[in-house]
Structure formats: structure tokens, C-alpha cells
Amino acid sequence: MIEKLREIALWVDDRLHITKLFESTAGHHVPKSSGSWFYVFGSGTLLCFILQIVTGSLLAFVYVPSAAEAYNTLNYMTYTQSFAWFLRGMHNYGSIFMCTIMVLHMTQVFLFGAYKYPRELTWVSGCVLLYLTLGMAFTGEVLRFDQDAYWGLGIGVALVGRVPLIGENLIHLMLGGPIIGGATLSRFFSLHVFLIPGMLIATISMHLRLVLAKGINEFPRPGHLVQRETYEQEYEAIIKKEGVPFFPKAISKDLIFAALVIFGILFCAAVFGPNGPSGTPNPTEIDTVPRPDWPFMWIFSVAALLPPYLETVILLVSPVIFTIILFLLPFFSGTGEKSATRRPIAVIIVVIIYISLAVLTYLGQMSPWSPDMQAWTGDVTPAKYLVGRSPLELQGAIIVQYKQCRNCHAIEGIGGHRGPDLANVGTRLTRDQLTRQVIQGGGNMPAYGQNLSPEQVSALVAYMATLAPNADQAARNSTFPGKPASESAPRIPKARVKSPGSS
């Protein structure tokens, strides 16, 4: 009986070449030093991609890629169909894990010099995968066809519209017409579900083929330089001396990491749930605060922080320069030192990029540059900024509120953060300066001269001049430093003056 089974197995193996396939792939010999925790990110990214295909294909069982219906099917999946909310969560966190682990993989490859001779094209194909994966993240955001998706497309249009000469044609190609509509979602669906995944699978195949053909990078030894003439013999010697089959000798850490990744995705999906959908994709519902998904949050921040005159140039030119440097890296730095311990500039570049991305993403979440649209109706003025004021000054406090000053100016942290906090404005600006600033604007503040009567300006300035916490010295005109405080200093209300020692 056993003999018979063995015979069948041998026949199957002979016809399908399974052993040969195994020997040339999972069984190939790798340097023992590559069985390291630093080498788990590539397989982790691939695992995420496979999970994305599984969850994505299943989501497509229900999702209808129609501008009229997509939102309804998203809601149906999220609230009605069993487990669909969980799959949406897995797909969302799968994408976040995939982007993150991919960047870690890329960082490791960069710091370990794995892109150097003879693995230049492995690096280049990896760069293609980076862009394709980001393409998946953006098209996926559009497929979650809600308010954020609609206005995210609007931001895309505005960016593409800055391209000189062909901007308009590019917008038509991107949207499938002159305006966001049914044709737009259909083409993003095709990109997200057919075209980009197809390109990803093809490029991943090439990437893996190259890993097999040129071997896994050995753990770099400081001081051991890569030379075109000798590297391949050296690598062969390493494999001969301390080569081990990837399976079962070097795969264990990949397996542990893979399981952790799956646990992580399941945990996040279960605890945090799916992302959105937010409001309906109805452009007439304009009470919205569009934000991109987190992989693009840093771009959102960059667009807020660049000086306007440089914006178009930097937004359009820097990605091109960055791409060229990225793709050509192995060709101008193809030999020499591999170890990060002797490549300080490489380490500094990585640190700078990580810190920049982290800070920009954090700023994007906070968006201090965005007016707080509800501040003027919803935010309170702390009592200590009202107590003891005269009727004229209180009139000014009301104007601060209903003329929407609070949308951009907080009072003691409450309100918008676009402009400076008003809690201590009386110590920074004299009455004359306050009047000028209100009427003429400037320094990124609109001029209110046409929207305020002279009486309103007097009330507003009278109130703001009292905004000096703890009876701090009022702002004074330097031309007349000795001038009595009556004109330029705030009139500190008695109730708020604290004598030392009182609580």
C-alpha cells in the first residue's frame, strides 16, 4: 500500500517537477548570515500583498463600482453583511501594514547596501513596486467612494492641473471626462483591481526571480568593499562555505514575522474596524473637512507649508528628481562599502527622511493651518477673559466671536490655530497696531476694513487690548516709551489683577 502511494507520488513529482521547482526556489542556498531579523521585511510585504488579494477579491463580491451605488454597497458591507466590516478592516490595515513593511524593507536594503553590484535591477524593480503600491493606496482610497474620496480626487485634479501645457488633458484622462463622475470611479476600479495588481504581480515575479538569480545579500561586514571584479567569486565562496537552504534553515524568522503581521492585521481590524465610509460623495454637502489617507498625509502637509511662490515648482519637480535619484542610486553607488556602520551619510539620509515624514504626518493630523470652521459658533470664551470688562470691551468680545475671528485665532488654545492665540495679544500689539492689523490685515490675515464699522473696530480693539494674562506689561509704542499707559496700554480689569501671594 505504502509502496503504491510512493509510486503515485513519484509519478506526480515527475510530471509536475515539484522537487526541481522546490530546489530552485525555496530550497536555494542563502548565506547563513542572511537568516537575520533584518531580512524578514521582504517576505512580510509579500504576505501583506497576498492577503490584500484575498480580502480585496472577496470585497469585490459585494462592492459595486458605480458612483451612484458604491457608497450604498460600502454601507451595506459595513453594517449589514456578516463579517464584511471585518474584511474591510483587514483590507484597510493590510494596506497600512503593506506600505509600512515595504518602507522598512526598502530602508534595510538601503542601509545594508543590498542594492549594490550585482543587484542593481533588484533595487530598480523594487522601486517600481514602491510606486505601484502607492498607486494601489491612492486608487483604493478613491474606491472607498465617500466625501474624502471625492475631495481627494479634487485635490488630485488641482495638482495635475498645475502641470503646464498638458494639465487639462491629464485631468480628462484621470477623470474619464471633464468632471468627477461615474466614469471616474469605473476607471479607478479598473486600475485598483486589474491593471495595477497585474503590474504588481509581474514586477514581484521579476523581483523574486532576481533575488534567486543574484542571491540574497550577505550580512555586510564593515570594511569589506564590493568590487565588480571579485564580488561574484566571493559570494559563491560564502555560499559554498556557509550556505544553507532557505527552507528549512533560514526561513524560521520569516515565518514568525509573517504570523506576527497577520496577528497585527487581525488585531487592528478587530479593534479599530474599517475606515469609513465618511459622508456621502455628494459635492453639494460642503460642510466637510477633506483629509487624505495617512500614506499621503505628509504631502497634504507639504502643500500647506511650502511658500506659495515655490509650491507648483516643488510639487511637480521634486518628485521627478527624487524618482531619478532613487532609480539611479545603484548606478552611481554600485560598489564599495556596504555596512551602515561605515556609511554615515546613508544613515543621516534615512534619519532625516524618517523624521520629516513623521513630523509632516503628525502636522497633517493636527492641521494647525486649517481654520476651525465651527469655532465661532461652538467654542467658549473662558470666563477670565470676560470678567471685569466694560460694556464696550464686551461688545468687542462678541465681535471676536461672530465675525469668525475664532475660526483662526484661539483664545488660550480654544479655537483655530491658523493665526496667533489672542489670549495675550494685548502684550504684543499696541492699540494702534491692533487697529491697523484688523483694518488692513497682512501677515496672512485678511483685511476686515470693509466688514467692520468704525464703532466695531473700536470695540474690538478695546477688548483685545485687555487680553494680557496675569496683568503682564502692555505693549507700548517704542517712540514714546514713557508715554502714560492710558492710550496704548490695556486697561487691566481690577477683578483680574492678582497681587503676589494671593491665589
Partner: protein
Amino acid sequence: MLKLGLALNVLAGALVSLPLIGYLFSVLIEKMELQWIKLGAVSSFPEGETRLASYQNPYRLSWDGATSDIPCWVRRLTGNKFEVFAINCTHLGCPVRWFSESKLFMCPCHGGVFYQDGEHAAGPPPRGLYKYQIKIEKGDLYVKGGLIPSLSNKV
């Protein structure tokens, strides 16, 4: 023989690619012209006020859903003097909101601010709000619309 085979396939490839390219670029080949669209009766917009109005995208497809409703800001100065602004901020296209008390349009994305006449007031936008061409016929206000405005096409 091999040369003939290759030549035939080059020809076949060219023939296949023509309709594919034509299909892909049809949005550029049959570019749609802007059209006059009725926004409503002149009398429905009070003088001296700015109101949100919306119109149907003239190239509406039946599966567009709510995306074919395009909003815009209508400012009636006096009588038949109107200004109609696109909803999209000139910075990155987010929808600007009108605040009648401070007479400002504010953008929720990067803090672009515009005056009531659409001029740039503050923030990163490179220009004032996009203005529609308008006309008044038989007591109705029309705008010339049908595309999403951007720096390369300003309605």
C-alpha cells in the same frame, strides 16, 4: 518565412493598438464644450447676499449618482449684477465655505481665505476664486459650466 511572420505580427499589433488607443483617449478626442446651465430665477437670489446654488453636470451619466450635482456660490450684488464662483479652492480644490458675518470664503484644507468678490485674502492659494461666465435670460440666471476648474482650465 520568419521575416514574413514578424512583419504580419507587427501589422496585426498596429491594428490592435489603434482601437485601444482610440478608446483610451476618446475623452480627449471628443472633448466636451462648456454649456449654459440654468441656476434659477434671478429673484430667488436676494440682493447683497451670497448663496450656495447647485446645477446638474450637463454631461450627466445615469450612474453618476449625487456626483452630478455641482455646487457653486452665487453672489448677487444689485439688480442683474451677479458673480458666480466655483466651489473649489484655487489651491488644491477643496470646497470653500462662505461666512456672511465676516464676508469671507474659507477653505477647510490649508486655510485659504477669499474676500466676498472672490479675491485672494490669505493663505496659500495662488489666485482668487474661479469665476463662471454668466448670463441672464428671461429672468433666469445661467452659468457656463461642465468641468472641474483647475489652474489649467479656469471655467
